[in-house]
Symmetry: C2
Amino acid sequence: MIPGPTPVPETVLKAMGRHPIGHRSGEFQAVVERTNAQLRWLHQTSSDVLVITGSGTAAMEAGIINTLSRGDRVLCGDNGKFGERWVKVARAYGLDVEVIKAEWGQPLDPEAFRRALEADTDKAVKAVILTHSETSTGVINDLETISSHVKAHGVALTIADCVTSLGATNVPMDAWGLDVVASGSQKGYMMPPGLSFVAMSDRAWSAYERSDLPKFYLDLGPYRKTAAKNSNPFTPAVNLYFALDAALEMMQTEGLDSIFARHARHRAAATAAMKAIGLPLFAAEGYGSPAITAVAPDGIDAEQLRKTVKERFDILLAGGQDHLKGQVFRIGHLGFVCDRDVLTAVAAIESVLQSLGLHKGTMGAGLSAASSALNS
Amino acid sequence: MIPGPTPVPETVLKAMGRHPIGHRSGEFQAVVERTNAQLRWLHQTSSDVLVITGSGTAAMEAGIINTLSRGDRVLCGDNGKFGERWVKVARAYGLDVEVIKAEWGQPLDPEAFRRALEADTDKAVKAVILTHSETSTGVINDLETISSHVKAHGVALTIADCVTSLGATNVPMDAWGLDVVASGSQKGYMMPPGLSFVAMSDRAWSAYERSDLPKFYLDLGPYRKTAAKNSNPFTPAVNLYFALDAALEMMQTEGLDSIFARHARHRAAATAAMKAIGLPLFAAEGYGSPAITAVAPDGIDAEQLRKTVKERFDILLAGGQDHLKGQVFRIGHLGFVCDRDVLTAVAAIESVLQSLGLHKGTMGAGLSAASSALNS
């Protein structure tokens, strides 16, 4: 129950364990052709979705360095660890970064973006870079509204980290006018880590032509060219492609609406349960991520709780990152997670709180609230 | 029988197919600790060997961009497709590249490097970049001698692509004074593609401090810092780490000397067989790679031969790359390859030549020569 690596279905593990085949073979090209089409379906886009062997960070970095040039002015949203990371990437490449901050646990304010973009009358801002679902705090940002403000600006691109939102909630790339969407395999994709994905709009590809930042492995031009021939510019992680193929087929069978409804139901169950047992949520009301619920168990050592849940019930919860360590624990409900998993996690948390003498409410109140949410 | 992805033992495939675990867990740290030690053993070095989720190209690019700065003068060896690639990477980052060329099929001339380095009296050359085993042509370059000339220069670093030499032949990083050694998992490591490795000497780390090329995902500083804590800066390909652990354990059981002897024996068998059936080798005499034997079957369509071997016997040989397509085929004997595999490939090639009416010698001559080489 961590936000990645997430649980992997047996079908996908079996696909992983196949003997690799030549990455230039016809058999492998057929895999690439299928996954290319499935990835467009998942992103709700007619643009190419390119596959990089690397982590989600590699995909985000690729999105930034393929569309921007040295000295370009960008707005970076920062309300958590991943927002901070994109600020660092942008600065590592000499971009002129204006940070739009919100406290950890609070959502980014779309109005702050609107004001900054409206004030930019000479259209110096070339991109707005932000995280959709901020995994470190369990907050979902209003990407749709922020993207609409970027569209009104007319020049800037929207570059979005959708690592823990894609495959968990609606991210209609074309309908929202997103220019770069980055994601990683060990999240909503229900597969192990090692592949990352970056989709680029036509506007992003126009910007690519002007981009002067140096790159080679993460230069998306050759990825696009070879993707058109169902191939890759460098030897890809062939076995992870097998897993991707199997996982995307399972996702298509379930359907986007069912996948999104399942994640929303699990968020509702986890948040209702934590409230019922008196553990405050860390994310601001109404901005809980469909992928992960962060809990700030006021006066309780979150690490002790996590450790005991692992020891007693072999369930791994995520801890707080950086300054939140010990203050926050996080329940991941992303990817291949079913109602039973969420119910079990809630039950284990309640049981451990009871054993530690820290349960603040009626024993079973969390389970009851979770169950009601799952049944409604 | 291609030079990558190479055959993968069942033990390694089974490790791959395990359910992933959290990359920040104690259990995973134990895997990283073991593989870190095993990788030093394989590289015959006391330096850290860092693991990147990506292809061998990512590792080579990392070696270049972590040690050099914009405008730095470098010498690049180029006698094949991969030599060409490192020239492109160096130029993509604005380095001042002097190319030391040899014809495809010929080895790089160590004297050419010596002359260029001796002429550089103001020590402007910051690195010599070259490929040890040039997979595209089946040529092994004399890395040891070239590295000794670099050492005599006193300032330049040796940055070596050892993608198809490491784990196939002796590459004693410390003894040869190599500064950067890059490799990839789908080669001598006997595992699927997706991980790459870069080892850096103390001199390379000193150069890292001065390097001004922009980087983030491939910035080796955070890899080094986290490796010291048996961890990774970004989510690694956890399942490929399981495979790495299993594969390196098998390699340690076999022992470096046995591994190198096996590859040398297979090279001897493949080259003797091709000579015996009158098919000229593409690599210059005495410079055949222990990983791959390239054959230029004068007057025979190499692609037709490859295709027929695949159809009749389900054995995949590699084709010629770029302008060598149709003129060259390549027999990979890298990684998890046994005597039987080499004997079978030779037998299949002879049988297909016979069926096409293209066998130039006595049927069975190749098999006899290969068998003698394997038995001696």
